[in-house]
């Protein structure tokens, strides 16, 4: 946003350019009494001729391209704001290399450029080539974005909040590398982590594995680690209410001793998918 538009109330027109309707549902959510975007002066109008801003969703299919172009040209020339809602409009999203998606001939589908091209960016380039003036564009990524994210984007247009993200670049020379040290060998930890991924998924596995490693560290200090670990896990399970975590702990215990036995016998222990 180069200059802050002095807009008190933005009238918006909702345009779908071939989206999966996820973002459209979130746009409707924003208009409901719970989120109530109308308190910022935003009103949904039925024609692009009445609209200040265009709420666009969808990855811009070839068929929607001509309609979208006509709708944008029909808007009044000032301020002609574009609000790109969803990952698809920002850069093509998951559909980025699909055959029905419109891409300019020079912006290929398999390039290594960044920020990534696609979506409304292609249409805006075409419009600028034709000499059509387009006002500020605001990109709201998300698949779909929460209603709060959309409100945050529109509040930026109204000048209520500032943007919080910025371009970040880190280099090897300035950021020091850190390898986390653990009490257990790295190859055992990685194998257990892979086993746990199939049981509980990505979200909870690191927390569960960390708990288990603490118990192992305690047990390995004692004279009889097998008995000690069994005792510690029984103790942990009696406090834990979630049966899924108890199951994971028991599974990890049996896996841990399987790996240890295989290593001492000189056999292969890696968990192959």
């Amino acid at each position: 946003m180069s200059a802050k538009p002095k807009l008190k109330s933005i009238w918006v027109f909702h345009l779908n350019t071939g989206s999966c309707n996820g973002c459209d549902i979130e746009i409707i959510d924003v208009l409901t009494p719970y989120y109530d975007i109308e308190r910022l002066g935003v009103k949904l109008v039925g024609s692009p001729r009445h609209a200040h801003a265009m709420l666009i969703s969808g990855p811009l299919t070839r068929q929607a391209y001509y309609g979208a172009k006509m709708a944008i040209k029909a808007m009044p020339p000032e301020p002609r704001i574009m609000v790109a809602i969803g990952t698809c409009v920002c850069s093509g999203g998951i559909f980025y290399n699909g055959y029905p998606i419109y891409r300019r001939p020079e912006s290929g589908r398999e390039g290594n450029e960044y920020p990534r091209l696609g979506g409304i960016i292609e249409l805006l380039k075409d419009l600028r080539d034709e000499g059509v003036k387009v006002g500020p564009v605001i990109y709201i990524p998300g698949c779909p974005p929460r209603p709060e994210e959309i409100i945050y984007g529109i509040a930026q247009l109204a000048g209520l909040v500032e943007k919080r993200l910025s371009y970040q670049e880190y280099s090897d020379e300035f950021v020091k590398f850190r390898l986390p040290e653990g009490p257990v060998e790295e190859r055992i930890v990685l194998t257990l982590r892979e086993k746990l991924r199939h049981v509980v998924g990505y979200l909870d596995r690191d927390a569960i594995l960390e708990e288990f490693m603490k118990l192992v560290e305690k047990a390995e200090k004692s004279e009889n680690p097998r008995e000690e670990l069994r005792k510690l896990i029984n103790e942990y399970s009696s406090k834990q209410r979630d049966m899924r975590i108890v199951f994971c702990m028991r599974l990890l215990e049996s896996e841990y001793w399987r790996i240890k036995d295989a290593i001492s016998a000189g056999k292969e222990f890696v968990y192959w998918i």
């Binding site: 999203g93 920020p115 945050y152 943007k163």
Partner: protein
């Protein structure tokens, strides 16, 4: 009783399991590009520059669909989905995060190999200490693929001469 959320005027945090925007921790990333292979919409890129000897891991939030496959495959837990969601911005460049890592310079031919120094450190940590001697490993690890192959062939020829004179 009013039900309307006073959102842009009050702070709201998403629940901890919410799939917000992903972030790369540059202190943990080894540049193995496992996330690049897993990413369905190509939101993460690997750009190798063999002249300057750098590898760039580029993450574009504007292409990300928050499927968390990158978090699932990351071996060092470097990339993670945060519950931060206020990503709207008028500039698409704001959505990009770049992590630049040094590639290994081959001890044999002096060109840059296709792996980073951090990858070697991570691999050395996984390899059990008792299998290979440390001195022999240090010589071999910092060679590029071509030099390693050449050395293996030379070694095999030398060894076969002893058997078949």
């Amino acid at each position: 009783m009013p039900v309307t959320l006073k959102y842009p005027f009050v702070k709201i945090t998403a629940p901890p399991e919410y799939r917000g925007i992903p972030q790369i921790d540059p202190t943990l990333c080894i540049g193995c590009a496992a996330c690049v292979n897993a990413c369905p919409p190509d939101a993460i890129l690997r750009i190798d520059d063999y002249d300057r000897g750098t590898r760039k891991i580029v993450l574009d939030i504007g292409r990300c669909i928050r499927c968390a496959r990158c978090e699932e495959v990351c071996p060092t837990r470097a990339i993670k989905l945060t519950n931060f969601f206020e990503a709207a911005s008028p500039d698409r460049r704001d959505h990009v995060e770049v992590v630049e890592l040094r590639l290994v310079k081959c001890k044999g031919c002096g060109r840059y190999a296709d792996f980073t120094g951090r990858q070697v450190q991570k691999a050395l940590k996984i390899v059990p200490k008792e299998i290979i001697e440390k001195e022999a490993l240090d010589d071999k690890v910092y060679l590029c693929r071509d030099c390693k192959r050449k050395e293996t062939v030379d070694f095999t020829i030398e060894a076969s001469k002893e058997v078949v004179p």
